[in-house]
Symmetry: C2
């Protein structure tokens, strides 16, 4: 099955980072050709489907490297209150009441929001009904990394069951739907997972060839308490326990020492930067420019709608692009190119996904079309496209989305998700 | 001319800050009634036009208290570079080439962007063709504060001409279009206006009953240089010169001492908070929570597209709502209610506009409708509406806009601005 998409401005995000008018040919799930200019008659004749891009910008689909879809119905249920009050009065009591249906409907709503704002790949760390989530992911045709979040503050047997459940998820779903679904191991955080449990997780990861995703160094309080209890920073401690001998992605990394940064760099640990959630919860601001200078791979995450409160990676890019300039009082510490890489090919690397995040022959055909004919994206020329994507574009400018060559949104209409039904169910939800 | 808008969720932003299902009746340019429930037959019979709000949220139109519309075509023309490089290589050389046509087309583009993202009132500080801008403002039907920006680094005669031009603008346009257009005096900044010029401006303000808008304490370098040259902070200096004896609005206020804050509070000076521009230019983060605690009136500004790079007040609200929580590591320092007030009735107060920024009988009928039927605004109930408006809504959710009772956007279609022509002209612009 060949698709030809012509009359587009291609934003490759390849090494040269070129932006040009041209076309792409998708063969099955991958890019077959990416070229400047107009397609030949031969190209047209080979295509099963020809799509006129009408001057839209074609760029890699955005990659959300940290989130919790199952709690999406808690958007706006508690804001502007201290973290522990929020957890104790909003998150935990509500999550205890979550049925399978609530989690599925919430995750579906989150997927609608993500597709409509240009996300094609997401990581989901959640502790409830992850096998159902896998089925939703498959039917949505989105690219998904599933992590059964594990809290280790429980008896040994329960710990082992959680790990076994994660491994089962891996065996059942890793690589399905043409590799669109993958599975990683996910101990929740050092403050909820005792060292003995972390060691078990590392062992399971090594035995099964899985990689690890965990929350790390999100708040100052958590880091201070860890040092008081264990005598070392959580990053140093996790490294001592062997966590970083397995490919790893940490979420947040807000409160880090120079030694921590050195460890992350040496052990090739990736970071999911969640600027909006970190700000909203009052956690702080991660030292992203320092990490970039060290060559640490930075990706972007939204975290959940309960702490963001949206899943629009264009907004997350905007925050990542602006806040570090402001706090460093230096507009050069981040550039639009860096930020777009966080949301595309750096994100792919952080999620251990090969050949993803660029518009390039041989790469996965995950891409979106952005309509540039709006006042807020003008004036425009090739030189300004990266700037506009990072500093001006909105999720609502995305009109089309393709994942592994499958057209999942066409002219803003969702093709793999039943938006009307999902919105109806979200409206019916009451807490 | 009576308009009845029913079946809406009204977000009054009045003292009680209530959110309820109801209707509003607009008589000429003002709200006549704002009520819960459904309109009576009598209400319907009295109306010349009945609009079914279809469950949308009706709230005060957003107020942008600081911007420079004429430079809108410089969006994305230079990013990620130091401030002085940006001014010297992007802003100043390009602005020197601006013709009347370029400035008019750029300002028109900016107005389209603002209306489409929910802004009904804006302040424009610019130095070129402000009489033409007044005509554009009138035909757009937007509520507008016009400020002929004055740089005082010039001979006395030129200074006097600039002040005379500002006063002429005031006499020609202040209060026109049913009071939708007002005019203020605008010395650019202490670093571009010597004390002797500031004294002339204060004198002109007092003589003509005008208020004053100026940039103040935007960057640390500017404040440090001011102290080195004059021995006092720019805020203290402006107060000594009598500036704050006239009603005043300062843009930015990023680098302030405790004494500065005390002066702003004592003299009832309002602040235009421009978080995105301050971050993007690396200027820093204004001490907004301290100002709020002191009772200083805070409004929101976008600054120009050259340093933002968009004019969407929903984004500005998001940044204002989140960054202070993050830098203070305290999620309680700002609330959704505070932020919405900055963009509505606090904004009105900052712009010296009476009876504006609330949905309330007797107030100006400046309001917008927001479509809540999108994944990113669900789930929703009355308790979550303020949260969703600040933490989740996008400019693109706004469907309708009314200013002084005039319907200027209907189902996303602009009624007072020729969007197609304005976009065509923006596309034709080349630098």
């Amino acid at each position: 099955m060949n698709k030809l998409i012509h009359s587009v401005t291609v934003v490759t995000m390849d090494n040269k980072n070129s932006v040009f008018d041209g076309f792409v040919i998708v063969k099955d799930d991958k890019f077959h050709e990416v070229k400047q200019g107009t397609p030949s008659e031969y190209d047209k004749n080979q295509a099963d489907e020809i799509i006129n891009g009408s001057g839209k910008w074609l760029l890699p689909g955005l990659i959300n490297s940290h989130g919790h879809l199952g709690s999406a119905f808690l958007r706006g249920a508690g804001d502007d209150i201290p973290l522990m009050t929020w957890l104790k009065t909003v998150m935990w009591p509500n999550e205890q009441k979550f049925t399978e249906e609530i989690v599925k409907n919430a995750a579906s709503l989150a997927m609608v929001e993500m597709v409509k704002s240009g996300t094609t790949t997401f990581l989901d760390m959640y502790h409830l009904y992850m096998d159902k989530m896998a089925e939703l992911a498959i039917s949505s045709e989105m690219r998904t990394v599933l992590c059964r979040g594990m809290i280790g503050l429980c008896p040994d047997r329960e710990q082992d069951e959680k790990i076994a459940e994660s491994i089962q998820l891996f065996h059942d779903y890793n690589g399905v739907n043409k590799g669109k679904v993958t599975v990683a191991l996910s101990p929740h955080a050092p403050y909820t997972c005792p060292p003995s449990f972390m060691i078990k997780v590392v062992d399971a990861a090594k035995k099964n060839g899985m990689w690890i995703h965990t929350h790390l160094a999100e708040t100052k309080g958590e880091v201070d308490r860890h040092i008081a209890e264990h005598g070392v920073s959580p990053v140093k401690h996790m490294d001592d326990l062997g966590l970083f001998d397995v490919p790893s992605l940490i979420a947040h990394g807000v409160h880090l020492t120079v030694e921590d940064l050195h460890i992350l760099c040496e052990k090739n640990v990736s970071v999911a930067h969640n600027p909006m959630s970190n700000l909203k919860l009052g956690s702080g601001i991660a030292p992203i420019p320092d990490m970039i200078n060290k060559g640490i791979t930075i990706s972007l995450g939204t975290d959940s709608t309960a702490s963001n409160n949206n899943l629009d990676l264009f907004e997350e890019m905007r925050f990542a692009a602006l806040i570090h300039k402001g706090t460093h009082e230096d507009p050069t510490v981040t550039t639009s190119e860096m930020i777009l890489r966080m949301a595309t090919n750096w994100g792919a690397k952080a999620l251990q996904l090969e050949k993803l995040g660029k518009i390039k022959a041989g790469y996965q055909a995950d891409f979106i079309l952005v309509n540039p004919n709006s006042a807020h994206l003008l004036p425009s020329d090739k030189k300004r496209v990266l700037s506009h994507l990072v500093y001006s574009a909105k999720g609502s400018d995305v009109t089309d989305s393709f994942v592994g060559g499958v057209h999942i949104m066409k002219d803003k209409e969702l093709l793999s998700l039943d938006e009307e039904k999902i919105i109806f169910e979200a409206k019916a939800f009451q807490i």
